[in-house]
């Protein structure tokens, strides 16, 4: 055992030398917690557990004990204009959830943490520290038979202060158009299904809000979000992720923009690339519903599907 530890230490040292510029890089464990860790630390008074699920009724009928519920459609976005939640509303939301300075925040949710990852992105934009995702989300917690409760907690109000929005984490239409027109050196990652990327369909089945143009942003590579996930819903290892994205030409050598249809699944990939691999990544939350409806922007539509054509 001692020998192995020693070997690992030496290995780390060598690796560290090789990655000197990345020495300050955080370890994945800084941003992910395991279901096991969570169950052991669930009574920690510094821990704030927040569920962000998209399916209604899930949280209420059974959530991880101590969690509070954030609703993506109303809590984490502006319900009138298309935007993320305002700073004031976000701060009061967090305080109501009992979040104070110095807390560790663990986010989790259904559908492979899609919306929890969106949450992590919004937390990051407002400079909230110590935010982690529960690796594997609800799915893994339930699959392992860990306890749920239907009793919602009402925490005492917290005192957290959030910073002004950090725009460096968020790509806007102009940034994406500039990348598409090769005016900036940015790598675009489209994480939607291959059929959406190739323009065979305008939106996934059962989705009403769609773009009236099909295809993708010119220059974007297609790495479907689910490829970053192992069978049990956890993120793949850093090495596997590196290999996966490098195969598509995404190696962190230049800034990256991730997008999908409405910006929530792409938060999942944003999380993997920025938190686990340490790349410089912006999430484009306007995504295809904004880009594909914008007049006069370049589009690549390999399938050639025409909207409204009979």
């Amino acid at each position: 055992m001692k020998h192995i530890k020693k070997l690992l230490l030496i290995g780390n040292f060598i690796l560290g030398l090789g990655l000197l510029p990345g020495l300050a890089q955080a370890a994945p464990s800084d941003f992910l917690v395991s279901t096991d860790w969570l169950e052991k630390n669930i009574k920690d008074t510094k821990l704030r557990l927040i569920e962000v699920s998209v399916n209604p009724g899930l949280f209420e009928r059974g959530h991880i004990p101590g969690a509070v519920n954030f609703k993506w459609h109303t809590d984490l976005v502006d319900p009138v204009r298309r935007d993320i939640v305002s700073k004031d509303n976000f701060e009061s939301l967090l305080r109501k959830a009992g979040v104070s300075e110095g807390n560790t925040i663990v986010l989790y949710g259904d559908t492979n943490n899609w919306f929890a990852a969106w949450g992590a992105w919004v937390f990051d934009i407002y400079g909230v520290q110590n935010v982690k995702l529960l690796d594997g989300g609800r799915k893994k917690w339930e699959a392992e038979g860990r306890p749920l409760t239907a009793r919602a907690a009402v925490p005492a109000a917290g005192n957290i202060k959030v910073s002004a929005a950090n725009t460096a984490l968020r790509a806007r239409l102009g940034d994406v158009v500039a990348a598409a027109e090769k005016k900036t050196d940015v790598a675009l990652v489209d994480i939607r299904s291959a059929d959406e990327y190739n323009g065979k369909v305008f939106a996934p089945a059962g989705v009403q809000e769609l773009s009236i143009r099909a295809g993708h942003i010119p220059g974007a590579v297609n790495v479907v979000w689910s490829q970053a996930v192992a069978a049990d819903g956890t993120f793949k290892s850093v090495e596997e992720l590196k290999k996966l994205y490098a195969a598509a030409g995404i190696d962190g050598s230049k800034p990256i923009i991730t997008y999908c249809r409405i910006g929530e699944r792409s938060s999942h990939t944003w999380f993997a690339l920025t938190k686990l691999l340490g790349y410089e990544v912006r999430n484009y939350d306007g995504s295809w519903t904004e880009y594909g409806n914008t007049v006069g922007v370049p589009i690549n539509n390999p399938a050639g599907t025409v909207w409204g054509a009979t």
């Binding site: 209604p56 009724g57 009928r61 239907a150 009793r151 009402v154």
Partner: protein, 394 residues
């Protein structure tokens, strides 16, 4: 004193076969990944619901007719008992799910619908359809288990009515529903206030019913034979009502509010959609909670297995009690069932539910829409009953 002797072996055996088959069906659903637990539970709750409906003759039209014709209020009081217990159970769950009923926050999926003239019209038409066809949709479902072939036509009519409802939805939505308020009593009164006000209202109704109740024991067909065994005698409606309230609360805790029209509506919507009879977008429909109808993508849905097991549960109960008596309906009966079914289908679609989904599950949830439905369904029922009498259709 009714005899406690067991029913004949043949009835016992067939009933047991149906019961075991339903339980095995539920068990097989449990192995479906993602949602299998809820499907299995829905099947078991449906089974219990079917047994309770059949044994206690929990039929909104029948108990209303008992009162209107014979001043026998016991059946209606059974419904009041179901509502009272259900209100208590629901509010206990609300307090766990959503500790503070803050404005803008709603408990998940509770059947709290928009208050509009469309709701009133839907309930009214539903009431007429109940009188015309002889019972509401849930009662037709349990009658199916008793072998009532006319009920099959009523349900067929309801499917057609649903299609008409979908076809008229966009117009009605824009004319009356879109701006209609969704009134949830706990938002205005808090949980305690909502319970208090509704229990007082139910108490008032019960008092009124009791005052008009003619205490003479009226032997109806089911209770007449004194020789009936324990197994054959119907349960008092209040017993069924209390058990149904228990099922309603358990269902809301684990799966969702009780309702019997979501699957019918989904089948109608999927079929009509495939035939391109419907507008491609039904405005706002999928944003309301109620007996939600969706285009079917999977074979089994929670509500689908619930009503299938309901029919099987009723069949098992009817077999055991000797109530399973298939009878060929006359042509006029078929016509009335079909026409009544169409009215009920349309009414349930535009009112987002029926006597179970909107009235029972709505009032239990503290929804003003549940009370409005109750008032107008009663009016329609009364008018339909009057018309039936005049036409000699009793």
């Amino acid at each position: 004193m009714a005899s406690l002797a067991l029913p004949p072996a043949q009835r016992l055996a067939t009933s047991a076969v149906v019961l075991i088959a339903t339980v095995l069906f539920a068990r097989s659903l449990g192995s479906i990944p993602e949602g299998g637990r809820e499907l299995a539970l829905s099947a078991l709750l449906g089974l219990a619901f079917g047994v309770f409906l059949q044994r206690s003759r929990f039929c909104f039209f029948c108990v209303s007719r008992d009162f209107m014709e014979n001043r026998d209020a016991r059946g209606l009081l059974g419904i009041v008992a179901a509502l009272a217990l259900g209100i208590l159970g629901y509010h206990v769950l609300f307090d766990a799910f959503l500790p503070i009923p803050a404005p803008g926050r709603m408990p998940p999926e509770a059947h709290v619908g928009p208050l509009s003239w469309v709701l009133a019209a839907g309930a009214f038409v539903f009431g007429i359809g109940m009188s015309l066809s002889g019972s509401c949709i849930s009662a037709h479902l349990y009658r199916l288990g008793e072998g009532a072939i006319a009920s099959l036509f009523a349900l067929l009519g309801a499917l057609l009515g649903f299609v008409l409802g979908f076809a008229s939805w966009n117009t009605l939505y824009l004319a009356g529903i879109q701006e209609a308020p969704v009134v949830w009593l706990p938002h205005h009164l808090g949980y305690a206030g909502s319970v208090l006000v509704q229990l007082l209202a139910l108490g008032g109704i019960a008092l009124l019913l009791w005052r008009h109740h003619r205490a003479t024991e009226i032997p109806d067909a089911a209770d007449a034979a004194g020789a009936q065994s324990f197994w054959e005698r119907r349960w008092p409606t209040y017993v069924g009502g209390l058990l149904i309230a228990f099922v309603a609360v358990l269902s809301y805790l684990r799966v969702g509010p009780l309702g019997v029209t979501a699957e019918l509506g989904s089948i109608a919507r999927t079929g009509a959609n495939a035939m391109a009879w419907l507008p491609s977008r039904l405005e706002g429909l999928d944003t309301f909670s109620g007996c939600a109808t969706v285009i079917k993508e999977t074979l089994w849905s929670n509500n689908g297995v619930f009503i299938l097991s309901l029919v099987l549960g009723s069949l098992a109960a009817a077999l055991l009690a000797g109530d399973f008596k298939p009878r060929r309906p006359s042509l006029p009966e078929v016509g009335r069932a079909l026409a009544g079914g169409v009215l009920m289908g349309w009414g349930a679609m535009v009112a987002l539910g029926c006597t179970i989904g909107t009235l029972l599950s709505g009032i239990m949830a503290g929804a003003a829409s549940g009370w409005v439905f109750a008032v107008f369904v009663g009016l329609g029922l009364w008018l339909g009953w009057k018309a039936r009498q005049r036409l000699g259709w009793m």
